[in-house]
Symmetry: C2
Subunit: 298 residues, 2 copies
């Protein structure tokens, strides 16, 4: 069976690597980018390079976007020379951006009027997993459409989970982000308690990370805290963006989010202090400031 | 080398199993208990059974306690017919209870005046790990005394970590408890968001538990939430007891504990609602009540 032609819009740090994996898997690819360098990168790999999202939609069976947030997605889909101007029945639109679930649902409904199926398929995992094709992908939309697109997802990710109807992928991603930020924050809270009490946080880490307190966040982020290394990884400013979407969804669905709200305040304080571009593990800096201590230890 | 005679006081669910492991490892054991059944259990296994903590101290080189909280430890050590009345230079007192670090330090100082070394050595892991001798043990006190006692700890636990000076073991235990309760709470917060948004929390669990959001608490407690199974495990009322000690230490050391304070409020509401004896995973019940949803799913 011939492989479906895929259009990819949003070739940033993540998107570029994901699109490259689609090329490597043998998918004919159409891209659009405002950056010369990106256009050359894909042109030299035999992808078709076009001018507008509308052009992408005209040429492809499947259209994928990987964009910063809801407004960018809306612009690319429904804006001037957007995808919406050229879509036709039978096409599939996959949004792999992390956006708010309500916007995902709304776009899916509008596209359905033209016979286009939309999947929301946000990812977790950073640049390295994008490069290695080992992202986690959480998918919302029709199950049959999901199954049709599974080979495409498999070219970009490893843990690929069908969550439920339209918007459900975004909800799973938000749940993920809530847990990650709070798990990071509580590691910092516990380690700062130790530090203030005169105990070496590294010893605490050693004692407890293998037990019930253990978490991937502790394993990944506590050593960064002890080294003061907040090279991103997942940038704090993006986590704040996701948390805005969490709080929007929380308000829409009337969900109680006290831990989320508290950690959001910490992150917003950090942004005000100029820490937008550090790793989200840098939530520890909020605790260091409040406690007048440093978690850096030998 | 002949094995040192160990006295064990506090033969509850945990202590009984820990003492039995010391017997199994060949340590001569002296116990004191107010319960007939417990006295018979140990007498039939060739342990000496005596009447008072003072008697235990008179007969043993090493005295271990495993008691509910600081007041019980103070009573057994410094109360009428307490250990303190009979201790002599060269003995070691190991308190394996989870108590507040200040009380541990204070007891250590008083005992030092009589030439007795004290270790604070709280454990993590429940009944099953106590039974299998696979507890995690976090130890504060003199390093040399810790090393002398390592074979004793090895009979009861697997992950045995020297944390630092007197009280440091208790600090590590409190750090552990902070992380555990908050990690449980945020799993419930994220899953309830999913539920309110119409998404099956089990799918979210499946999608995210292998990634950065993954934690031992999620692995152990989320399935309990989905089954409504809060058989303890670690009882909520004991976690509240530990959190009182966290907040006491936080106030003593001027540490900022916003997540701890928030989850303490949730747990105290649950105690008021009559949930003292459920597993600490039952923090999910706070979210279920606030959100008017159930996390139980097929």
């Amino acid at each position: 069976m011939e492989k479906e032609r895929i259009g990819f819009i949003g070739l940033g740090i993540m998107g570029k690597r994901m699109a490259a994996n689609l090329l490597a898997a043998g998918y004919p690819l159409v891209v659009r980018s405002s950056r010369d360098e990106t256009r050359q990168f894909f042109a030299s790999r035999k992808a078709a390079v076009v001018q507008t999202p509308e052009d992408v939609a005209r040429l492809c069976d499947i259209i994928i976007t990987m964009l910063p947030d809801s407004p960018e997605v809306k612009e690319v889909v429904f804006g001037t020379k957007g995808i919406f101007g050229a879509v036709r029945s039978g096409q599939v639109y996959i949004d792999m951006s992390s956006i708010d679930p309500a916007s995902a649902k709304e776009a899916a409904e509008k596209l359905a009027e033209k016979g286009v199926s939309m999947l929301d398929a946000p990812v977790s995992g950073g640049q390295e997993k994008a490069e290695n094709g080992t992202l986690s992908i959480m998918v919302g939309g029709d199950r049959e459409v999901f199954e049709r697109c599974l080979p495409i997802f498999s070219a970009m990710g490893r843990q690929i989970t069908y969550i439920g109807g339209s918007g459900a992928g975004q909800i799973a991603k938000l749940a993920n982000q809530v847990i990650v930020a709070v798990n990071i924050a509580v590691v910092a809270e516990a380690m700062c308690l130790g530090k203030k009490a005169g105990v070496d946080p590294r010893r605490i880490f050693e004692a407890i990370s293998g037990g019930l307190a253990g978490s991937q966040c502790m394993t990944d982020k506590a050593p960064r805290m002890f080294n003061g290394d907040y090279t991103p990884g997942g940038k704090l400013v993006f986590h704040v963006k996701d948390f805005k979407n969490v709080l929007k969804a929380g308000s829409e669905f009337d969900a109680s989010l006290p831990l989320t709200s508290l950690v959001m305040e910490m992150m917003e304080e950090l942004l005000k202090d100029g820490f937008s571009d550090i790793d989200h593990g840098g939530i520890a800096k909020w605790y260091e400031k409040k406690n007048h201590v440093s978690l850096i230890s030998e």
